[in-house]
């Protein structure tokens, strides 16, 4: 466990600021890029992966937009560190699964990062709080341009950026927003709204992306189509859809706070706060569900014992690897649940 110092970093995306931050916890832009003339990571030899790693390290060190970046080779850190990086959304589960010749460069405030030798040679990421995809696209493309000064990208004259999976070809862009949608979910209006995403070329997933479970009514909304439209158009379409969904959620929250409906919502919120303030053991999935109600109450101005900033932080800090980092040692699941509950009591009582 070498990465404990990262707990002190004020992560850009966990802050409570930015447009529509009451609903949009964070925005993220990811660009997939590959090195011209080399096999993609899943089909490459150790020697080729090593070459890419060295080139990426050199390019990242020169990239001004990354600032004083941390370079983390995944084979040099243990399993808890790797899980910790996944929870901070700096690497994917895929990158952690095969740590040899894999790395991540992490820029200041964890706003910009680059995964090396995941499904593609480079996965550039820009993340910040609130709805800010346009700004993040600018950051991502600036970093892409800087890395491109020393790394020649695989570009097709007709298709543009080539990726290992054809689902990412063209722009290589995934623009996503992490949204908190408890009121739409509670009132049964969320399902039909999510069904409208697919025809618009978008998709909804759990907090850690493809194949992950939805916890605490936190949904990642992103584009599913990467070919056929410009980066700007994809980002504008996702932003527009996310903004519309966020406004519906805020309306639904106001509806829950109205006389008549309020008693039911208050009961849910205060039962959750009661458990957060008193439980002696709590698994993460349960903690996020209660934090979700407390978060909604906080955005409605109800007097919850913890602030919106504290609740955002707890959603991050109570994850399994973060609890282990905070205690400085590996813990079994039972110990983790006990320590998580203690952490929550401290903030809620």
């Amino acid at each position: 466990m070498k990465l404990g110092a990262m707990l002190r970093v004020r992560m850009a995306w966990a802050a409570h600021q930015g447009p529509l931050h009451e609903v949009v916890l964070s925005s993220r832009v990811r660009l997939a890029r590959n090195v011209r003339g080399l096999p993609f990571p899943g089909h490459a030899s150790g020697r080729v992966l090593g070459e890419v790693l060295a080139a990426a390290r050199e390019a990242a060190a020169k990239a001004r937009s990354l600032g004083k970046a941390a370079w983390i080779e995944l084979a040099d850190v243990d399993e808890v560190d790797r899980e910790f990086l996944i929870e901070r959304r700096l690497i994917s589960a895929l990158l952690a699964r095969e740590p040899r010749q894999r790395a991540v460069a992490v820029g200041e405030r964890e706003l910009l990062s680059v995964m090396v030798n995941e499904e593609d040679h480079l996965r550039l990421q820009a993340v910040d709080s609130g709805l800010c995809l346009e700004e993040l696209l600018r950051h991502g493309l600036a970093l892409e341009e800087e890395l491109g000064r020393t790394i020649p990208y695989a570009v097709h004259p007709r298709l543009r950026h080539l990726t290992a999976c054809p689902t990412n070809v063209g722009t290589g862009l995934r623009a996503s927003c992490l949204m908190h949608l408890p009121a739409l979910s509670l009132t049964g209006r969320l399902g039909p709204l999510l069904d409208e995403l697919a025809p618009a070329g978008m998709t909804a997933r759990g907090i850690h992306g493809e194949g992950t479970q939805v916890l605490g009514d936190l949904y990642q909304i992103s584009n599913a189509v990467t070919l056929g439209h410009s980066e700007a158009r994809i980002v504008a379409a996702v932003s527009k859809r996310v903004e519309a969904l966020a406004r519906r959620e805020l309306d639904a929250r106001r509806g829950l706070a109205a006389p008549g409906a309020r008693a039911r919502a208050e009961d849910l919120v205060w039962r959750s706060i009661g458990l957060l303030a008193n439980a002696r053991s709590m698994p993460y999935a349960e903690a996020v569900q209660h934090l979700s109600w407390a978060r909604m109450a906080s955005t409605l101005g109800w007097k919850a014992p913890a602030s919106l900033a504290a609740i955002n932080e707890l959603i991050l800090l109570t994850q399994p690897a973060h609890v282990q980092m905070l205690t400085g040692r590996p813990l079994d699941p039972v110990e983790r649940d006990v320590l998580r509950a203690a952490l929550l009591r401290k903030k809620f009582s």
Binding site: G42, H156, L159, A198, G201, G211, V225
Partner: protein, 97 residues
Amino acid sequence: MPCSRCGKAEAEVFFKQIVKSRVTELHLCGDCSASLDLLFGKAPSSAAPASCSACGRTWAEFQKYGLLGCPDCYDAFARPLEGVLRRVHGTSAPKQA
């Protein structure tokens, strides 16, 4: 995660299919993914070379894993990929806007 078709073996292959903009995700074991013609369709033998001359990846491997071997695969398998791109993105070429 168990295979979403047979429910017995562990899923090894993850398919995401977008047909007329509707997204379907499937998790399949090796046998079911090989026997089903779900996402990529069978490439007519005249349409695709057996393998990419740059990296050696075969079209059958692509059908199994969903991943190409290298940038040159896009030219080697250009014709069968056209159908894949149309199914996934609704187009096989970018149009700027």
